[in-house]
Homo-oligomer: 136 residues x 2
């Protein structure tokens, strides 16, 4: 069975989807990701779909499911590398990718996750000056 590899880069897990997702591969990926998030304590998941020519409703649902699972495990999910044609098709199909953040590339995705984490810290602290005090 095909298994999509999960790469750990710092605080982030990176998944590059290159193969056609079967039901089984999708379920396996969700399980593997959930396990890795817990095992590594990662706070972000980046899913690269550069290689996908088509994002149909099945893949869309899978991405949403991954985002929901990650959220429960306190990790942000960002989908990166979407091709222009894929974006157009998504809109034409009326698929909205619920609860999924997107970014242009992996680097932007990492920035987005870092920013989201920083926001959460501020909210948790209830301290607007956290950034300035941290650097002093």
């Amino acid at each position: 069975m095909e298994r999509v590899p999960i790469l750990k880069i710092g605080d982030i897990l990176l998944v590059s989807i290159q193969v056609d997702m079967s039901d089984q591969t999708a379920v396996q990926l969700q399980e593997d990701l959930a396990e890795r998030i817990v095992a590594t304590g990662s706070h972000g998941v980046i899913i690269d779909i550069t290689a996908l020519d088509i994002v149909d409703s099945f893949v869309g649902r899978m991405l949403s499911a991954i985002a929901s699972i990650s959220k429960v495990l306190d990790a942000e999910t960002v989908v990166v590398g979407m091709r222009p044609a894929v974006a157009i098709t998504l809109v034409e199909l009326g698929l909205s990718l619920n609860g999924i953040r997107t970014a242009l590339n992996v680097e932007r995705g990492m920035e987005l996750i870092a920013a989201a984490r920083a926001d959460e810290w501020h909210e948790a602290d209830g301290d607007e000056d956290a950034e300035t005090t941290a650097t002093s």
Copy 2:
């Protein structure tokens, strides 16, 4: 035709090989990588082979070719995520992966590339204290 995506993370290009490489895919990947190294000025290429069950002589030659091309373009190549069974098979087949550095995972690969770059800087400077003076 399948095309292996190349992800840019900071100063490094990351390639995760998940599909069976045909002649055409391999040539395409080499061309794409060479172009991206030049376009981005990257100094490191990390090739993740976590998904590969087998590294035969064809894939071995492809990895060596990528390493040679990258070297000419002033980029280090590190192969990461090799499975234990793959390593055993490589040795049994007598394949040596000429000129290829390996690391356990992407993070170690990044460290290896950073260390290799630092060494080069020292050599170019001819200054053993470059590290301490840079921080002062």
